[in-house]
């Protein structure tokens, strides 16, 4: 037993102090449990063939999920999150993109256990994918086949496959679940697919080498990044027509984008300049460029559902940059795996 110093306070004061301290400790515990594990950041590492799992609250890597045990042969790339945030879907392919190999699949990861719980066969070198808002459909770009395909999220049954153009990549499903937009890099188009009728509606000419597509929160427009064109195309989703092009500069080489959930902003990862471009979606003007302390060649970008933190996947520094969405400053850099390709945010269990 340790010797305690003589307490100079009277009994009533001691009781009061003790009550106050206890209350503070209780509040801290509640706060800590609320913050800890609220979000998890998943980063697909193309060359180390694994997925880094980061606790957003502590900025610590809490796990690395191995995809195949064969880095350099098999690679994870695009990812998507289920509507409730508990499942991460990751597209898996090999490094020799021929028509179809045994590696081509979509893995489903449960964020509660960080374990792979399901596989969906997706031949043709799937690169990116998206989940329907109701969580029932998975849409993937099959890069080697110049196609896009929809799958039943539960059974893995292929719902339909569609010609979308050479080197298909970006995929998004509209917030109302009605449309799937899929980009084709060498065709410079976005193909619009009716997810209910399972048919192609139209093809929209966008910028040069379109990499990714994202819908605005209300679904009124969609954004398409053009890597070689150095721009973001804005498409009116009612008419599926281009209504604007936001120029980021030829050297920007934009890839992934993230729509801010609480602000009128779009964040665009600029791989060519190692920057994140911040676009005011009301004015469609670039209002800031986050460059200082950024990792090298950010391709992936994701934002937490509360709009507080932005994460980028940096392929040439094998890291994740953490950006404060309020100050638009890089506040941290977390080591990920080799060739960090894309980022997704999951809601971890309390």
């Amino acid at each position: 037993m340790r010797n305690r110093p003589r307490n100079p306070l009277p009994t009533r004061a001691r009781t009061l102090a003790l009550a106050l301290i206890t209350s503070m400790m209780f509040a801290l515990a509640v706060f800590a449990s609320a913050q800890e594990g609220q979000y998890r950041v998943y980063v697909a590492n193309e060359f180390s063939a694994d997925i880094t799992v980061i606790d957003a609250a502590t900025a610590q890597v809490i796990e690395t999920i191995s995809i195949s045990g064969r880095p350099g042969e098999v690679r994870p790339r695009g990812m998507a999150v289920s509507p409730d945030g508990t499942l991460i879907y990751a597209s898996i392919s090999d490094f020799n993109p021929v028509l179809e190999t045994p590696e081509d699949k979509i893995l489903v990861i449960d964020v509660r256990t960080n374990e792979i719980i399901n596989e969906i066969r997706a031949g043709g070198n799937p690169e990116r994918l998206a989940i329907s808002p109701d969580g029932t459909q998975v849409w993937a770009a099959l890069e080697a086949l110049a196609q896009g395909a929809g799958y039943d999220a539960a059974t893995g049954e292929q719902l339909g496959v569609f010609r979308v153009g050479i080197e298909s990549e970006g995929v998004a499903v509209s917030p109302d679940g009605r449309w799937a937009y899929i980009t084709a890099e060498a065709t410079h188009t976005v193909t619009v697919i009716d997810t209910q009728k399972l048919e192609v509606v139209t093809h929209v000419l966008v910028g040069n080498r379109p990499r990714e597509v994202d819908f605005e929160k209300d679904g009124s427009v969609a954004y398409v990044s053009a890597e070689i064109g150095g721009s973001v195309t804005v498409i009116d989703t009612t008419t599926h027509q281009v209504i604007d092009t936001i120029n980021l500069g030829l050297d920007s080489r934009p890839v992934e984008m993230a729509v801010d959930p609480i602000r009128p902003r779009l964040y665009v990862a600029g791989g060519g300049t190692s920057s994140v471009y911040v676009i005011d979606t009301d004015t469609r003007e670039v209002i800031a460029t986050v460059r200082e302390r950024m990792g090298r060649r950010p391709w992936g970008v994701a934002i937490t559902p509360d709009g507080s933190l932005i994460y980028t996947a940096n392929g040439l520094s094998d890291s994740v940059s953490v950006i404060d969405a309020e100050t638009l400053e890089v506040i941290d850099e977390i080591q990920a795996g080799r060739g960090a390709h894309s980022a997704a945010i999951g809601v971890a269990p309390q």
């Binding site: 490094f95 993109p97 010609r163 050479i166 890099e185 410079h188 000419l205 281009v242 092009t245």
Partner: protein
């Protein structure tokens, strides 16, 4: 965005909307656009080096016809690529005439088989107001005195290749250059341009000896001279077949000096690499400058290289890449302008905001003063003992570097080649 740029973009959007409406409404009706592309490909029945180029060009054309035919069908465009195989300039012009009269071509592609063929096609295209893409001839004269308003050069120019050579070797510390060149006007022009590059752009290096050679002449004397001049690098400004002969001869003379060689189309193939290292295991396994590289796996190149390799069972040599890109550029000239009229195509290619993707990771464009495509090039090391043709070359350099944030990409690409102040082209 500046007002000019926004105006250009809004105009572009208007075309895009028209295109969209046409696609949506005409899925089951007449094609929204007709595209007829004519290609003049080489059929020389010549050396194995020439045959490798000829085969690569044919294969590149076959692949792009298939893939962009896929695009066209999806978009309700009537698309055709017709290829004629020729061996002489006269045959080339006759073939172009047939393509125009029988196929009503909107764009002509060529440039393989030598300067004479390419110049003949360039002149023919100008006379007939047909946009022409030179995908194989590097001669500076085609960008200079012999330039034509309707001719656009995908193939890098002599000046670009020489600047690339100078850039790499000077930075690697090679200061004393020994040049062996073919006789005649072209050889002299190559030498003069290299000399200018070393004096004006890459300080600290100079040509210590220039020797005009016709075939292999007294290799022993040449080797002796190389040693006496204390040359850091020997530059072979001679055709591909002669390069191999010189490599063999110099290695036999015990020369170990680095060898840089002229990247003419016949030297930009795996067949050349194999012949080179067989002839001279050490000197012949050096570094080569290529317009494209089969092992490039960045910038989407992994995918196009893989598709080619799967289809043909061999690496995508630069002539195949060039054939593919030339059809793609022709397609895009019509696709983006929503027209197959010559003026619309030319306007699209020369628009200030025009940008092309050559699978090189940076947007490229045609220089307005000579219609030369700005682009990067690659330095590839031949692996001495590698049996797999695909892995025979290993990428060791890219010029200019693609990732240089803070620098203007156009200025970066213009590090190579003749800028406007040196251009002798008057359209």
């Amino acid at each position: 965005m500046s007002n000019k740029l926004r105006t250009a973009h809004n105009t572009f959007l208007a075309f895009a909307c028209l295109l969209l409406v046409s696609w949506s409404a005409a899925q089951n009706s007449a094609p929204v656009l007709q595209m007829s592309i004519g290609a003049i490909a080489p059929d020389r029945n010549g050396t194995i080096l020439e045959e490798a180029v000829d085969r690569a060009v044919a294969q590149g054309l076959e692949m792009v016809t298939d893939e962009f035919g896929f695009n066209a069908e999806m978009l309700n465009i009537d698309f055709a690529v017709t290829t004629e195989f020729v061996a002489t300039a006269e045959e080339a012009v006759n073939a172009a005439e047939r393509l125009l009269s029988e196929q009503e071509i909107h764009v002509l592609i060529g440039g393989w088989g030598g300067l004479e063929i390419t110049r003949a096609l360039s002149n023919w295209a100008a006379a007939n107001r047909i946009p022409f893409i030179n995908a194989g001839a590097s001669a500076d004269v085609l960008r200079g005195e012999a330039c034509q308003l309707t001719t656009f050069h995908l193939e890098s120019s002599d000046a670009m290749y020489l600047d690339a050579m100078a850039g790499w070797y000077v930075r690697s510390g090679f200061r004393r250059w020994f040049v062996l060149r073919i006789p005649g006007e072209w050889g002299e022009a190559l030498h003069d341009r290299l000399d200018w590059a070393l004096r004006e752009r890459h300080f600290g290096a100079r040509i210590v000896r220039e020797r005009e050679v016709s075939g292999i002449e007294d290799a022993a004397a040449v080797a002796d001279r190389i040693r006496r001049d204390n040359a850091d690098v020997v530059v072979l400004l001679v055709p591909a077949a002669e390069q191999i002969a010189w490599l063999e001869a110099l290695e036999a003379e015990g020369i170990t000096t680095a060898i840089a060689a002229w990247p003419d189309p016949e030297s930009q193939s795996r067949t050349f690499m194999q012949a080179s290292r067989e002839a001279a295991p050490t000197l012949g396994s050096g570094q080569r400058i290529l317009a494209f590289e089969a092992t490039l796996d960045r910038y989407g190149a992994r995918e196009i290289n893989a598709r080619y390799r799967q289809r043909f069972g061999e690496p995508m040599d630069p002539p195949a890449w060039a054939a593919y890109q030339s059809v793609k550029i022709a397609y895009e000239g019509m696709f983006f302008s929503r027209s197959s009229e010559a003026e619309a195509i030319l306007s699209t290619w020369t628009a200030p905001n025009a940008v092309f993707d050559l699978w090189k990771g940076i947007g490229t464009s045609f220089r307005p003063w000579d219609h030369q495509m700005r682009q990067s090039m690659y330095l590839v090391k031949i692996r001495e003992d590698e049996p797999d043709p695909f892995a025979m070359g290993i990428l060791v350099g890219e010029l200019p570097a693609i990732y240089l944030p803070g620098t203007d990409p156009i200025e970066r690409l213009d590090q190579m080649g003749d800028l406007e102040d040196r251009s002798t082209c008057t359209f």
